[in-house]
Symmetry: D2
Subunit: 339 residues, 4 copies
């Protein structure tokens, strides 16, 4: 059960409601986000909803039968829109395009990529400064100094930054320089990291776990939302299966299923989803027809020289073409009135 | 190695070539299909291709490094087109639409479905008369009598029939009444069935195994082709993974990967691929953008009353809409010059 | 519901019972096996079991809530024992050892293997004469002539033969020469083959499908049993997962789970289960402690020269040692009173 | 390449060696653990090993072709022994038994469990004070206060504590009260946590990831070892597959494979591996025959009342019996001279 409270509710009223709920045998978790105040009630037994609905300060009461609550579409039919400013948004029914290199490597690389984005009207740049690597002897990213350099250049060009945060202690130093925090596939169930990202007023993209279920992804989102942060986006990026002809198995089924279950935007990452450069284009377009609200893919001036993920990275001419084709596909989707 | 022989080659010349190959330490399998005569040579060692290429009766010699040979794109760049007559074709770069019920149930049902197809200009009807069922106590289909009834009605309306064949002994009785034999996901590696379908001059759709790899699907196609039947189509229908929110995981990655590896057409079955009625539409459209040459999906006048698979079956109004949207999506794909 | 009939029941009484059941809205399938006569009743609704139990000719009535019926432990607590004659049995709580080459290759090979078996007191020899191969250009076995040669030698030495049957048309010619038919992992859901094996009075080992569930394996067994053949054994042989360090993932969890659900014996195939010669021993012993009623593994005089599966095949000295260790492990299991 | 340095090597000599390596085009990572000093060299090209081996202060040089280096058996044939003091060890070829509840719940529970351990001569107690939970509304453990209470009681009875650490900031406060840090299956690739555990002089058990490969587990261990901590143990705990009859698929194949690849001890967790109480016993015994150096399983005075994982938890009488059977199985394994 989700109890939406009045925006300016008095603390005394909150206490009254909590007491009332407890007396009904309901376990209560208060949630205060940027956009509202809620009480989440978990109850084993049924009870008369009117006993709560009529209380002073209660705006609305919703029964939510899903195990996740705040991210469920059952109480919030209106889809969530994440506004990044400067005209950049990620929203249900839209098409947010995000591209950039796997790793931030140098000033020259960032300059070149920003030009590519500006030329194509793309407003969000991806790139890693902290890289999760299976071997401790691999390149692990430029770190916070790389992020500052990138931020300065991006800001000057109205470009928003999405980048991966790997641990709690990175959140605070990264905060001023990041527009969207990305939780990587290996951290989807790093619950402490999710808890802390709930306290931050910056959007968060949560990638589906390497072999995460759709349900687990929604529960991970519930962690961030119940921590206080409603600015959430989910990302399908391929799952681990027995098939080894591709890096991962992009599970496009997950897109319509997620959009049925949650009010959060859902994007797709075809680069990791298939892992082979020449097939990124069809999988990006397929993602759009499956209902994705955005596409995040890897590009680089010279993919062969990229520090990481070169085999799945597009060069600029291919990226130019892909952007045009994605826009045409999106235009078709809108005209067909899908979703 | 594939040695293409002249169409009207004399048997004596063939023997000469085979002797030559054996003397070079090459294991030879002769293959005679509706469309040509080949010798497949498997050799552990290298040798000078000119020793073979210059022989009388040899049209061309192709090195094929793939384990599968005849279905590989490495020797046959021109894609295979399967012509069913009456204007019905399945071909690379096309969009063949096939629909119908899971099971053929009655004359009334067939009449109604044929009307639905004719109205929409769809030329190929799917339906099962032999049903693979995990429980021996379930309905197993109307059998050969059902097929005859269906065939009579379909033929009268210029509709082609695709239906599943489950075992060798069914091939001969089914042959006069079937336009496309379908090999189901549980029979993808039923090698005896594949062998026998190689001897038949009717097109064959091979579905990917329940947890079959892309490579295994190509090898299964090699069985039919090397048995003598070039009229082959491959079908992605979802694979078994840990994710249980959907019936299967439709692996759209497989579509561009297969189309890179083989000259055979590749179609998609979104009904089995996701298993939930309302999500068949986005997955069908996504399949088209991923490059599918055809879509096969389940429809029924009253899905709730279908003998099987009702939960993933579209009713006629939804099927009407889907057909229009698929055609619009296909038109976009052609205009974008994908593939 | 399973209705056990009296052994010598009159046909008129059977008809009476069937009529009664139909009048109660129950779908009836009569099953006549080597060991008894049954009626399987499938009903959507509840009814008073006494209405059936009191009828003339009814020995017992069992409610079975599982979807599979005759193979369930819910009605038949006493485990099934498969007696092959000459002192060879496969039974719950026992340890049946079966070994031999992947493929039957030559008279010399069979002679040598039989000596190895006799020396170790092993009574069942495995070997393939029809080989399922993913490529049509691979060796497919010696066929029926190989089987006859093998049978003559085995019989002379009191050795029983287990070998794979791949299709319906092979059953009849193989019948006189086979002691146990094996259904391979690619045929676990070849329902026509299962149906036909139900009509045969020879034991059948059903291997779990390449990515088959435990439940599907039980359903496949139900096919054979309901076809008329109670002499059934189930075999865990590894499943397909994302892990590629081993050929398959031997799912030993399946052994106690199966033994809880069914009265049929359950054996393990560590050779295919791990696919690496030096690890066959620990996995065989682990299988015994997990509760396996038998072990089937591959051995060969010179594994490096085997036509197939050499990398997972033991030589004779290693096989000698394994047999002794399996016997010691089995003795411990019995002394611990497991199961 | 691993260069073992003399224990008391002078810093100047180290610099000399590093310079020499760099001049050969080798990337060098210095590693200083509790037990030795090493330089890890990664080189794309070959070179003459004698150029390094002869340098002052170099004890030995090992070529290691695996991607992981320090945890490989290729350089360190002698297995690692982890000594916890008070006679508790975890070592290759041994049998370390660890049991306890899923969650630490109360003083009474800890007292009761310690009695159970003492009675059975078990020296290591498991239990969670920080619980990873997929829902933010579930019980998340007693935290540091619970750990202190537990530690006091355990210490007084000579019992060692193994408990999960979920994030970097927990390490320092937990350090005085923990004997073995456990990295859970959701954190196997939490590289920051692994890095930090490398700096600690306490043993670490790393559980295999929920769908982690054997190779990834070894790489995760390499993180901790190269961070400075050699006291490492690996744990198989079941992987995620399509099979849903059990909680996970306990991959016992992984045990002999890991023991071939690494000098670290390998233990098994049958409780999570199968997830069903009555099947924990056979899977524990199977694990021992597969070569496990230890078993960790869940027990509780009243499993039905446990805060979490009750369905896979043994009560004391069953735990008593299991311990005896494990000891008997281990005695057999030793007598058979396995491994």
């Amino acid at each position: 059960m989700i109890i939406q409270l009045e925006k300016d509710i008095d603390k005394a009223f909150v206490d009254q409601i909590v007491d009332k709920l407890k007396s009904l045998g309901i376990k209560v978790t208060p949630v205060n986000t940027q956009q509202g105040n809620y009480l989440i009630g978990i109850s084993g037994k049924g009870f008369d909803i009117r006993e709560v609905g009529g209380l002073e300060g209660v705006r609305d009461v919703h029964r939510v039968s899903d195990d996740y609550k705040l991210v469920s579409k059952k109480w919030k039919v209106k889809p969530t829109e994440v506004d990044l400013g400067d005209g950049a948004t990620i929203e249900s029914g839209g098409l947010a395009i995000m591209t950039g290199p796997c790793s931030i490597e140098s000033e020259e690389q960032v300059d070149s990529m920003i030009q590519h984005l500006v030329k194509n009207g793309v407003k969000i740049m991806r790139g890693g400064v902290y890289k999760p690597r299976s071997s401790p002897y691999s390149f692990r990213g430029l770190g916070i100094e790389g992020l500052k350099m990138w931020h300065e250049k991006a800001k000057a060009n109205g470009i928003k930054i999405i980048t991966e945060v790997m641990q709690v202690s990175q959140i605070e130093p990264m905060l001023p320089y990041v527009d969207i925090f990305q939780v990587g596939a290996r951290n989807t169930q790093n619950f402490n990291l999710l808890d802390e990202l709930g306290k931050v007023d910056k959007p968060v993209v949560i990638k589906r776990g390497i072999s995460g279920t759709i349900d687990e992804l929604l529960h991970s989102a519930e962690y961030v939302f119940s921590g206080g942060n409603e600015k959430l986006i989910l990302c399908e990026r391929g799952i681990r299966t027995y098939e080894k002809a591709t890096r991962n198995t992009l599970d496009l089924n997950a897109i319509p299923v997620l959009k049925e279950k949650t009010h959060l935007p859902v994007i797709s990452d075809p680069s990791h989803g298939i892992g082979i450069r020449k097939f990124v284009e069809p999988m990006a377009l397929a993602s759009i027809m499956a209902g994705a609200d955005g596409i995040i893919y890897e590009s680089h001036e010279v993919p062969q020289k990229a520090f990481s993920d070169g085999q799945q990275t597009l060069n600029y001419p291919d990226s130019d073409k892909l952007i045009k084709k994605m826009q045409a596909t999106y235009a078709l989707r809108k005209s067909l009135d899908l979703e």
